[in-house]
């Protein structure tokens, strides 16, 4: 789809932004370019739409050398989203989104109809159409930026740190929205970020660059976490890559045991007989109510009379990852993660020790792990 063939970019002052890069990006997936600042990731991205021309080597798009295409024309066929949306302040939201269709010579009416569709697609209300960019929040502007990039339905989308200028909550929202969109649209996306967490969350493949514009590793997120190519990649991926890898294990694969689960109607005497330090009290539907410390049980009555310690949080066997399970274990007063099914009923419990065994098992067999788990928490 997008192919870099021995591409280098150096500047007259002697700095090398990209050094002999050969890379092939698959069609219909998200490739994340990640690395510290000055590693050439943005330069690499900009060579795809000729915002930067390589010093040597060739870049081709669908088998065609991009230098054969007139630059503005090439760019109209490639969506582009930048960090500070870069919306045109003098145009309404609708006309911003209609930019590329209008450049392509569509009629104003058709371009606006298309823009209205896209406004809805990125989850913005219709009444925003007539507003100007300065009347929108940063997150909303970024959504418009994405809509504008999708204007003429380009097969390729370039995104240069699109979510890094908004606060973490909005960022998480935009990322989730982005994943949803991609499931629908199946674009070939090249995404630049300096944030390895974002790379792992969004990427189907990740290219890690090191300072000096050298490609350090090109791999799936799982492989990157399990088998970093060298110390640089290992360092960049971070100290907690072991825990992060749990994101790729479905919570449904975690072994659970029954644990001390008792209904609220259980008599205290019977509860004491279980001889556990903590008792998980559930209602009639096995939905968890809280943890009861055995040492503080009332003298008589049922568990309904016991004072309960809040759960922390549970994890869902459908949808959550093993990472959420581990987090749940660490936050639980009983040090036990509580796994629930789709209805919220308790299926079983596991402690951190048992959960980390899952991670250890994964390390041993990287090949079986190449496909990203569907139900991970990204």
């Amino acid at each position: 789809m997008i192919r870099f063939n021995a591409v280098s970019k150096s500047y007259p002052n002697g700095t090398t932004a990209v050094d002999d890069l050969s890379l092939e990006l698959a069609e219909g997936g998200i490739t994340v370019l990640v690395g510290p600042s000055g590693c050439g990731k943005t330069t690499t991205l900009r060579m795809i739409n000729r915002m930067v021309e390589p010093t040597s080597g060739t870049v081709s798009l669908r088998g065609r050398d991009i230098r054969e295409v007139h630059a503005p024309e090439l760019r109209r066929g490639i969506g582009y989203v930048i960090q500070h949306a870069g919306l045109f302040p003098h145009r309404t939201i609708l006309d911003n989104i209609a930019t590329v269709p209008l450049l392509l010579g569509w009629s104003r009416k058709k371009a606006r109809a298309r823009a209205a569709e896209l406004l809805e697609l990125v989850g913005l209300p219709e009444e925003m159409a007539k507003r100007y960019p300065n009347q929108l929040s940063g997150g909303q502007q970024q959504r418009v930026g994405v809509a504008r990039a999708l204007g003429a339905d380009p097969p390729v989308l370039l995104m240069d740190e699109p979510f890094s200028a908004v606060d973490p909550i909005v960022r998480a929202e935009l990322q989730a929205e982005f994943i949803r969109l991609q499931k629908e649209l199946h674009k070939t996306i090249v995404f630049v970020t300096h944030d390895i967490d974002e790379a792992i969350k969004l990427g189907d493949n990740i290219a890690v660059f090191r300072t000096g514009g050298k490609l350090a590793q090109f791999d799936t997120p799982e492989q990157l976490l399990a088998h970093p190519a060298d110390d640089f990649v290992a360092g960049f991926v971070g100290q907690d890559r072991g825990i992060r890898r749990l994101s790729f294990v479905k919570a449904g694969e975690v072994p659970l045991r029954d644990g001390p689960v008792l209904t609220a109607t259980t008599p205290v005497a019977q509860a004491r007989a279980a001889a556990e330090a903590w008792l998980l009290v559930v209602d009639d539907g096995r939905r968890p109510l809280g943890w009861a410390p055995a040492a503080e049980l009332p003298a008589s009555g049922t568990l309904a009379d016991a004072s309960l310690v809040p759960l922390g949080h549970t994890f869902s066997l459908v949808g959550d990852s093993a990472r959420a399970a581990l987090d749940s274990a660490l936050l639980s007063p009983a040090r036990l993660a509580v796994g629930v099914d789709a209805d919220g009923a308790v299926v079983g419990v596991a402690d951190a020790q048992e959960l980390s065994a899952v991670a250890a098992a994964e390390v041993g067999e990287p090949a079986a792990n190449a496909e990203k788990a569907d139900g991970d928490d990204r």
Partner: protein, 221 residues
């Protein structure tokens, strides 16, 4: 001024209403056409200075030197070529506007945020289209701020043209001085000020209509 002569004889104004209107029209033409011509020169010149930064310093020096030449001297120079005509007044006034308009066009273009410029390029605007459809419209508020200054100063400078017999309402000022008669002087000054203020108000209105996007800086979340 002789004793007992009032500052304004209303009778005189009434008698000369038609003539005053004619001179006001001439004054407006002499004051505003130079701003229009100045703008026609400044926009391409400003774009060039923005595109090639090295050009800006010499251009700025030249426009400032032009501005520093007394209007009387300029009139005398141009009289040789264009005679005692309106053109002889309008050419210096046009040159004067450049020292305000060129920097404002350059500043206006510089006010375009870099992400906007980059986005325009990345979305497939060619260089000319980008300037015309994106950069110039965004520069409009800054350019109009310059036009306001240029228009007001040009309107008040027209009167000096009376030295070569082309001063619009300036005619009444010299006339009043010659006759030792204050009414035409006061009338002319008031009319010139009114012209300047009205022009300025209209330009503010024009800016509001041209750039609805620069208002309403309300951020909803």
């Amino acid at each position: 001024m002789s004793d007992g002569e009032p500052l304004v004889r209303w009778q005189w104004i009434g008698d000369h209403a038609g003539e005053l209107a004619d001179y006001t029209g001439v004054h407006l033409r002499l004051g505003l056409l130079p701003v229009l011509f100045g703008l026609i020169v400044s926009v391409p010149l400003g774009i060039a200075c923005h595109r090639w930064r090295w050009l800006y310093a010499p251009v700025l020096t030249v426009t400032n030197i032009l501005y520093s030449i007394p209007s009387l001297a300029l009139f005398m120079i141009f009289v040789r070529y264009t005679g005692l005509t309106e053109r002889t007044v309008m050419i210096p006034l046009t040159l004067y506007t450049l020292s305000v308009l060129v920097p404002n066009v350059v500043d206006g273009l510089a006010s375009v945020p870099e992400p906007v410029r980059q986005a325009a390029t990345a979305l497939g605007f060619g260089p000319v289209r980008r300037v015309v459809q994106v950069e110039l419209p965004i520069a409009v508020p800054v350019v109009i701020a310059g036009v306001r200054v240029a228009a007001v100063s040009s309107i008040s400078l027209v009167a000096v043209g009376q030295l070569i017999g082309q001063g619009g309402l300036g005619y009444y000022i010299t006339r009043g001085l010659q006759l030792d008669f204050p009414t035409p002087i006061v009338t002319a000054i008031v009319l010139i000020m009114l012209l300047a203020l009205t022009t300025d108000a209209l330009l503010v209105l024009a800016q509001r209509l041209l750039t609805p996007w620069s208002r309403n800086k309300v951020t909803s979340s």
